[in-house]
Amino acid sequence: MPSLYEFANPVLFERWARPAIPWLAGATALMIFAGLYYALFNSPADYQQGDSVRIMYVHVPAAWMALFCYSVIAISSAVGFIWKHPLADVAAKEAAPIGAGFTFLALFTGSLWGKPMWGAWWAWDARLTSVLILFFLYLGYMAIWRAFDDKARAARLAAILAIVGFVNIPIIKFSVDWWNSLHQPASVFRAGGPSIHPSMLPPLFLMAGAYMSFFGAALLQSMRNELSARRQARLERTDVKAASTLVEQ
């Protein structure tokens, strides 16, 4: 069993990540086709929502991923901050755009669903608002990374922000339970259809699996891109240094 520190070696990471990506990508493709087939053709329409319920199969796993990706960022940030693990910093940085994408997808599909169901594209309910906050958190996190030239400093500061922002994750997760008293229960039934029909579960979990393996593939690939970009920058710097010493001689 390789230890955490062996993965800090980019060469080892490359050796392990490169063959994993096609497998993850293939799994994504399989599950997304199977999941979409079940979701669109082979699952029952809801007795109240009709066919609009099918939006759920895209929406709910995306919302799960929005929370999951931020958790990945926060945990990698903590690992990077405490143990100065360079790959953890890269993982946190590269997970952010993917997570922001899932968050946007959750908000977008939710609003598409809300228009026919609630009669409004948006409602200022606790769950919607807190997911929107999560989206802004992603943007702030990415903005910190972009603001600093010095990657090591950016990593530390972004890590601090990610860990502070992690406070919001339980708030988002439990917003539906905590704010029941203040909000119309109409928004809750989506999570609460407590007896969701068993035939709706396979497409839901297939889509969740597809998103998960997509996240894995995209994260590993963008980490590889970031690592090669850094290597290139380092090589260019040493080239310039070598050239300037030549000129001095």
Partner: protein, 222 residues
């Protein structure tokens, strides 16, 4: 303890002297409130309904605009280096800086609120809930804001970045604060719940923000 008091006294004095951030923040608060009111139109019943939310967002913006000042000048004249290297417990020093920021902007904003509330036709029974919610909530704004200022102190023009970082973290305080002000004015039972949650949010940030600020300041030392 004496050092912390000295930092607070120094920061508050600097904020109220010429070139300080206090008066501009209050002026900005007044201007933004008036602009909101002008945009909403002359309907007085509508105005009294949206007065408290306007004042809460105005106070939030006015706090935000003054955050950049918290550590900027200290870094430019080199005193931040001295503070970081000589503080026994940097988190306490960061808390003192946040306290000084609240004394020099949060408190003046609250003092200016009744005057602006008259202009916005706020109902008389809504004054106390609004002021109380601001009193409990604005320290949280200063604490979170000082953390964002510490994160970005090494950047030349950080105001825009600070706003992006700080807005999502401000939203819970804004929701509970404005919620408490509205519920209190209506005599609704959620008043106490909102105030308690607002207090909880401020207390929570009082624990987290100074520690996070200290970590950020250390990471920003060259």
């Amino acid at each position: 303890m004496r050092g912390l008091r000295a930092i607070i006294a120094r920061d508050v004095t600097l904020a109220f002297r010429a070139g300080g951030g206090s008066l501009p923040a209050v002026a900005f608060f007044a201007v933004i409130t008036v602009l909101f009111a002008l945009a909403a139109g002359p309907d007085l019943t509508l105005m009294s309904k949206i007065a408290a939310p306007i004042i809460w967002t105005g106070a939030l913006f006015a706090t935000q605009i003054s955050l950049d000042q918290i550590y900027r000048a200290d870094r430019e004249d080199g005193s931040l280096d001295v503070i970081v290297t000589t503080s026994g417990e940097l988190a306490l020093t960061a808390a003192a800086k946040a306290a000084a920021h609240w004394l020099s902007t949060g408190l003046p904003l609250i003092l200016a609120t009744p005057v602006l509330a008259i202009l916005l036709n706020l109902e008389s029974e809504a004054y106390l809930p609004l002021l109380l919610s601001l009193l409990i909530g604005t320290p949280g704004l200063s604490l979170i804001g000082s953390f964002a200022a510490a994160l970005t102190v090494a950047l030349p023009r950080a105001n825009l970045l600070i706003s992006i970082i700080v807005s999502p973290l401000y939203i819970p305080i804004l929701i509970f604060g404005a919620g408490a002000a509205a519920a209190g004015a209506a005599g609704a039972p959620q008043y106490a719940a909102n105030l308690s949650l607002l207090g909880a949010a401020t207390l929570f940030t009082a624990v987290i923000a100074p520690i996070a600020s200290a970590a950020a300041l250390r990471s920003n030392m060259d």
